[in-house]
Subunit: 192 residues, 2 copies
DNA sequence: CATTTACACTAGCGCTTGCTTGGTTGACCC
DNA sequence: GGGTCAACCAAGCAAGCGCTAGTGTAAATG
């Protein structure tokens, strides 16, 4: 057990682990399965990760950091009116499902398998992502674009969005852009 | 391994199993832990259930049947206008979280641990529940109360609703009725 | 009274689990 | 050309896993 840095090798192993975690679930995925997928022996795995838990944490960390980066970039690039910003966030969220679906599914379904220290570290990352959403929702509320309780609206929206991993097919007919547009249309109350 | 009927004893055991599955997750819950929680020895467990999988199936089956019953009753008892029906469904959904939260959490998080036969049987039950929602949403769409694509709207609504198990505290300040009202308000576009 | 049924028990088989140990390899460096 | 270091391997340990076999017993049933 030597290193736990973020070498490129470790990044690649993390990506492969995410795939297996989605297919089998964290608990059912054995270190032997992980090693085989990675093309190494099970003992070698512990050169890159302290233990199995750390592999899970690495998967979730990378996925969340990625989503955060994409969302921030989307907000920087879009128009400044609340509607555009709402749409940009929804679109960014759906686009991460194209490139990073596995990590997102793992983050949603296997969060509770994290031990306490990892959970506390990663919840800060997740909070940062949700804070972006709440900011955008606040702006939309202030502009009268949507209405309702600040807290409840963001929970409902996060729910609708996170649920997309269950049914959205990125290779299907609907683009993230179209889908984001539909979601915003459902929520907003334009002054006809 | 004698019986697999639905005796009252088995119902109680199922309820206790749901509790443990939520706390630990299905895979981490051992038959020995289940037996201890039930106050029997691990071998005795297999008198009531064929195997561990069947316990999971029993938990999900009971929870879904319950939700279906409550939703149907709510629809029978409410006014016939689309807004009332939407509200009745949302309220029924949240009310099941008061009495049956464990089973619902298990159904959401451990669905993929079901083997193929159980999954096929239970998905019919779940489809029946979702069909109720789609019916009510269709009525609301037809009445112009909400708008958007039939398929997408129901996915978004189901997402927002199912996500409530993550944050809703039935012992907290907000009643299911209030919460349902907020959700409907967020979705609907009344002709001001 | 005899039999069945429902429920519980003890004991343990066969296997898999996460992880450790002690070592080898080959590329790079001064 | 000796030293360093990440990367990998073979072997295996201790613990725990789902589940089975066979038995005991008290209440219900004929």
């Amino acid at each position: 057990m030597n290193v736990m840095n973020d070498s490129p090798r470790r990044k690649e192993l993390t990506r492969q682990a995410a795939q297996l975690f989605v297919q089998e679930g964290f608990d059912r995925t054995t270190v032997r399965m992980l090693a085989q997928e990675m093309g190494i022996k099970s003992g070698s795995l512990f050169h890159h990760f302290r233990d199995k838990q750390e592999i899970l944490a690495a998967v979730i960390e990378e996925g969340t950091e990625n989503a955060l980066g994409i969302a921030r970039a989307a907000l920087d690039d879009c128009d400044s009116d609340p509607g555009s910003r709402l749409h940009a966030m929804a679109r960014a969220h759906l686009e991460t499902l194209l490139t990073d679906r596995n990590a997102h599914v793992v983050a949603l379904y296997e969060w509770r398998r994290l031990d306490a220290p990892a959970r506390s570290h990663l919840s800060h990352l997740r909070d940062a992502y949700e804070a972006l959403w709440e900011e955008v929702i606040d702006e939309a509320l202030a502009a009268g674009l949507i209405r309702g309780d600040r807290f409840l609206v963001s929970r409902f929206v996060m729910g609708a969005l996170n649920w997309t991993v269950r049914w959205y097919d990125p290779d299907g007919e609907r683009t993230p852009d179209e889908l984001a547009r539909e979601l915003v249309a459902m929520l907003t109350h334009p002054a006809d």
